[in-house]
């Protein structure tokens, strides 16, 4: 049976390109959504393996959406209500603008609160917020990844920030 698609995910070169361009995004998405303890690297690989398994049914254009949905589902299958933990790296980038950074008392308790606040967000809020504000993704791109509208993404980011500013209010200095 001849393939009539010009580009086909079953071609190793096409598949490999998809892997190179998307694997990091898939990994980060899983990391932010489910936390560091949920083994996002393994699930990323599994999602790509599933893509390979289904390469006949998924076009290169649809591969991104397929990967994100699959990765999410794979994770849900194996998650046992683990607490979501995003690890805090000690090397905290300092403000680039040179503005006075002392609006917050950056104690250990502050970072602890921040981590818990992130964990307390809904998955949707957390993913939208982190992909936008940590990974710097445009909201239109996030919307495409998640299969929702841009307005929905904006709303989730807004809700996430509302939670954060309320929970971190106590550490405010000015």
């Amino acid at each position: 049976m001849e393939k009539n698609l010009h580009k086909d995910v079953c071609q190793p070169s096409v598949y490999e390109k998809l892997y190179r361009s998307l694997s990091k995004d898939v990994h980060n998405f899983l990391y932010y959504k489910f936390g560091a303890d949920a083994e996002p690297a393994d699930k990323t690989q599994e999602a790509f393996i599933k893509l390979w398994e289904n390469c006949k049914k998924v076009s290169p254009e649809k591969a991104k959406a397929f990967l994100f949905t699959t990765a999410s589902n794979l994770m849900l299958n194996s998650l046992k209500h683990k607490k979501v933990v995003l690890k805090h790296q000690q090397q905290n980038p300092i403000s680039h603008t040179g503005e006075d950074p002392e609006f917050i008392m950056r104690t250990k308790e502050y970072y602890q609160q921040y981590q818990e606040a992130l964990a307390s967000l809904t998955e949707e809020q957390r993913v939208a917020f982190t992909l936008s504000k940590i990974e710097g993704k445009k909201q239109a791109e996030i919307a495409e990844m998640l299969g929702v509208t841009k307005k929905v993404v904006e709303y989730r980011i807004y809700s996430a920030f509302a939670v954060l500013k309320e929970r971190l209010e106590n550490f405010r200095t000015k």
């Binding site: 079953c10 694997s23 690989q45 398994e53 504000k133 940590i134 904006e154």
Partner: protein, 296 residues
């Protein structure tokens, strides 16, 4: 801060006038600090366990893939025949090892009902206790795997790792000869940093450090049907397999690695098998009890 402005700020959607207003807001410093501190929770660096290196350099022969349609009836995912040497054991307790002697074939059922059929003079090890966490076996020699659908399934060998996605495939690891044949489903072969995916009918062979992709037509290893097929395999390998299937020793003065054999030998009759090997290559044989001599 005004809610509408806050919303726009979060969307990076402020007019110049609005931006000035935001920056002068008493809440601005605090809000901006929150966003800056978010960076401290950035995701771990992701480095793919297997990087997809270009295989154009490694693969000599051009590949013509013949994709075969998967039969939907089988729930069995992958069949791997891996003939590989076990180069180290990873497990401590609860390890099951199955070995086959010369001329023997054995079927092993794994904890998830996956099946492994070992060819002669082969060995398979796995840890039944940790099977639900990770499906991993160590193989030495040659085996045909039918892997049940589930998490990924790894076969470790001395020369590489084969990850199965739910397929039927064969792996051979004998000395410096390493081959993986995919019969059904999909297989990913990892060697070093590279990853080679295989479709049904695809095979990859490593011999003395060189990789070659080729196609196979049969749907299962021939040794399940009491014969051995070879496709341009060094004669040395063919004779060693003959030894394993008949429990004999083969002696020869010939330079075996320079000759290649394509064809079949039966497992049922030694004389016939020897004819099948020697006739196409215009060689002679002499049987002396358990010892066979091959000559010109």
């Amino acid at each position: 801060m005004d809610e509408k402005l806050l919303h726009k700020w979060l969307n990076n959607d402020l007019s110049p006038a609005e931006r000035t207003a935001v920056e002068q807001d008493p809440d601005f410093g605090f809000y901006q600090a929150i966003l800056q501190d978010a960076a401290g929770f950035k995701a771990d660096q992701f480095s793919a366990p297997h990087s997809f290196e270009s295989l154009e350099e490694a693969v000599a022969a051009p590949k013509t893939t013949k994709l075969r349609y998967l039969q939907p009836m089988l729930r069995i995912a992958a069949v791997l025949v891996i003939a590989l040497g076990v180069y180290f054991t990873l497990f401590n307790d609860g390890i099951t090892t199955v070995e086959t002697a010369m001329t023997e074939q054995r079927t092993v059922i794994l904890p998830d009902a996956s099946e492994v059929i070992l060819n002669a003079a082969s060995s398979l090890s796995f840890d039944g206790d940790s099977w639900d966490k990770a499906r991993q076996v160590n193989l030495e020699g040659e085996a045909y795997f039918k892997v049940a659908k589930g998490q990924k399934f790894d076969v470790m060998s001395s020369q590489g790792k084969v990850t199965v996605l739910g397929t039927q495939f064969k792996v051979i690891d004998r000395g410096s000869f390493f081959e993986v044949v995919c019969y059904e489903g999909r297989v990913a072969v990892t060697y070093g940093d590279a990853l080679q995916p295989l479709n049904p009918g695809d095979a990859i062979r490593f011999l003395d450090g060189e990789a070659r992709l080729y196609n196979v037509n049969n749907t299962a290893p021939s040794w399940l049907a009491e014969k051995s097929d070879f496709d341009a395999v060094p004669l040395a390998m063919v004779l060693r397999e003959l030894e394993r299937q008949y429990n004999i020793t083969v002696k020869t003065q010939l330079a075996l690695n320079e000759r290649q054999f394509s064809g079949t030998f039966t497992h049922k009759d030694l004389e016939q098998a020897l004819n099948q090997i020697t006739a196409p290559l215009q060689l002679t044989y002499n049987i002396n009890g358990k010892e066979v001599t091959i000559g010109e």
